[in-house]
């Protein structure tokens, strides 16, 4: 059993203050970029609507489910770790990573179809936003997977605070995707 952390203290949100400063900045950055995308779409609504219809909503929805399920396994990993059940926690951490890898695999397939159809970065402004926003998100997922991989090999030596910070980073990837998915794939 690890020591309890007082989360009610304003300086100790779950995961720690530093990771929440990072999460806040990331959400602000992606949020502003998405607002810019919607703002730009008003100049040529038909172009943005037709471009949005070229995206595969089913891929987007399945990827959302992959990330959310992965987030669920991450949350369960943290619970089990706090109870000292390292064997189960390690297994669920691997399932968490599997969700991330499935997300990347489907994203690669989606990118492949887009490139094959010529819908690349400079096709139009909608696809510039699409590639930049989803591309930066993919980079976050890859960084998150590297962090999880490190935890996977050193789980028993980890402190609760560190695992929570890593988990918070992984959940941040969910949060960014939960902002990107409706705006890019569903509403324009």
């Amino acid at each position: 059993m690890q020591k309890e952390i007082d989360y009610k203290n304003i300086y100790y949100p779950p995961g720690g203050l530093l990771i929440w400063i990072l999460i806040s900045l990331e959400l602000l950055t992606f949020g502003i970029a998405l607002i810019a995308l919607v703002f730009m779409s008003k100049e040529n609504p038909d172009l943005y609507h037709q471009s949005r219809l070229m995206l595969n909503t089913t891929y987007g929805a399945i990827n959302t489910v992959f990330l959310l399920t992965s987030g669920f396994f991450m949350a369960t990993t943290v619970h089990l770790f706090k109870k000292g059940n390292f064997t189960k926690a390690s297994f669920l951490l691997k399932l968490t990573m599997l969700g991330g890898f499935l997300f990347l695999a489907l994203k690669t397939l989606e990118y492949y179809h887009k490139i094959e159809a010529g819908l690349v970065l400079d096709y139009n402004t909608f696809f510039s936003f699409y590639w930049l926003l989803t591309g930066f998100h993919v980079i976050h997922v890859i960084v998150g997977l590297v962090i999880l991989l490190y935890f996977n090999f050193t789980l028993e030596k980890q402190k609760t605070e560190d695992l929570e910070a890593g988990a918070a980073f992984w959940h941040m990837c969910d949060l960014i995707w939960l902002l990107l998915f409706p705006v890019i794939y569903l509403i324009l």
Binding site: L34, I35, F39, L68, F72, H171, P182
Partner: protein, 80 residues
């Protein structure tokens, strides 16, 4: 596994399918955009409060998250 986490995951998957269905069925309807944004906001809150355990955090953090989300959805809908 915590029961509340399982319920949250099921809710999140249902909301994801619902928003994708709405988007594919009703095109270019303002009200549907608002519904999709609101349901997506609920998903965001569920992940932050349940999976990230922010329900246990200080009220300043909870209020900041809700304020950010309200502003984001409000601005997006206002611009649309």
């Amino acid at each position: 596994m915590q029961k509340k986490d399982i319920y949250t995951l099921v809710l999140l998957i249902i909301l994801t399918i619902t928003t994708a269905y709405f988007s594919n069925t009703f095109h270019n309807l303002e009200i549907i955009s608002l519904v999709i944004l609101t349901l997506s906001g609920l998903k965001f809150i569920a992940v932050v409060f349940q999976f990230m355990e922010m329900k246990k955090a200080h009220r300043v953090w909870k209020s900041t998250i809700i304020l950010f989300l309200t502003l984001f959805i409000g601005i997006i809908f206002a611009v649309l």
